[in-house]
């Protein structure tokens, strides 16, 4: 019984279209959307896409910082594996038809695109939940670090309790 269940889950992961990329280059959302859409199976009832941008303002200890640039660092080799585990988790939690994740690294400026998550599923609820879970896990489980330069100087961005709580809420919900 356990073996059958394991095989079935592996099959879901194998059949689902998935793409993970860590890159310095920007991306064109429209092109990616068209390409992703045709790669998902005919069972797809909809897809949810989230694109994150670099904000021009941030708060440091309650003080507003006008952001000039953001430098993103990752751990080549490990970060890719961590994102793959996050996508595995999403695909074993919900019945997905496709998932694509792009995370940029290097030097970015306000309004630049920083991250893309697309999740396709037969039903909208699964696509919304999967995209939301993957974003919450990217913030806390994938090895990226942000260094922000603004009018208050240069500093490493600190993780927040809110991010950790959002990630932990998925641990609770998926059990």
């Amino acid at each position: 019984m356990m073996r059958l269940l394991f095989c079935r889950q592996s099959l879901v992961v194998e059949l689902m279209y998935r793409s993970i990329s860590i890159q310095e280059d920007d991306f064109i959302f429209g092109d990616l959307y068209e390409s992703f859409r045709v790669k998902c199976s005919a069972k797809t009832g909809g897809l949810v896409a989230f694109v994150g941008f670099v904000r021009d303002m941030n708060s440091i200890d309650g003080e507003s910082d006008q952001v000039e640039s953001l430098e993103l660092e990752h751990y080549p080799g490990m970060t890719e594996k961590s994102i793959a585990k996050i996508v595995d988790r999403a695909s074993s939690s919900w019945s997905l038809e496709g998932m694509q994740v792009i995370h940029r690294v290097g030097k970015l400026k306000p309004e630049d695109q920083i991250v893309l998550v697309m999740a396709a599923a037969s039903h909208r609820s699964e696509a919304f939940q999967a995209a939301s879970m993957v974003m919450d896990f990217l913030k806390t489980e994938a090895e990226f670090w942000k260094k922000e330069t603004g009018d208050l100087g240069t500093r490493w961005v600190q993780s927040t309790d809110q991010d950790l709580k959002r990630r932990e809420s998925w641990e609770y919900n998926s059990e």
């Binding site: 751990y75 913030k139 994938a142 090895e143 670090w145 942000k146």
Partner: protein, 80 residues
């Protein structure tokens, strides 16, 4: 010999990106780093929020280290 890497804020605090050390386990690694790093750098890598990866997998303390292993000290993640 094992390769030891420091990322992001830890690299800045330690003043090193990478170092090769002759260590066999977590205990000997910390002992060696305590000798090599400044008090501030050593304190930073020992913080409860810092995770250690062994060959790209997060490990708990008391792990063993083999020849050519890669160890990384990782500060809290801020992706997305």
């Amino acid at each position: 010999m094992a390769k030891v890497k420091f990322f992001a804020s830890l690299r800045d605090l330690v003043g090193l990106e990478e170092i090769v050390l002759d260590v066999v386990d977590h205990r000997s690694l910390l002992k060696e780093l305590e000798k090599l790093l400044s008090a501030e750098g050593y304190e930073a890598i020992c913080a409860a929020s810092v995770k250690i990866a062994l060959n790209h997998e997060i490990v708990e303390p008391e792990f063993e280290i083999r020849q050519n292993d890669e160890i990384a000290f990782l500060p809290p993640i801020t992706g997305g």
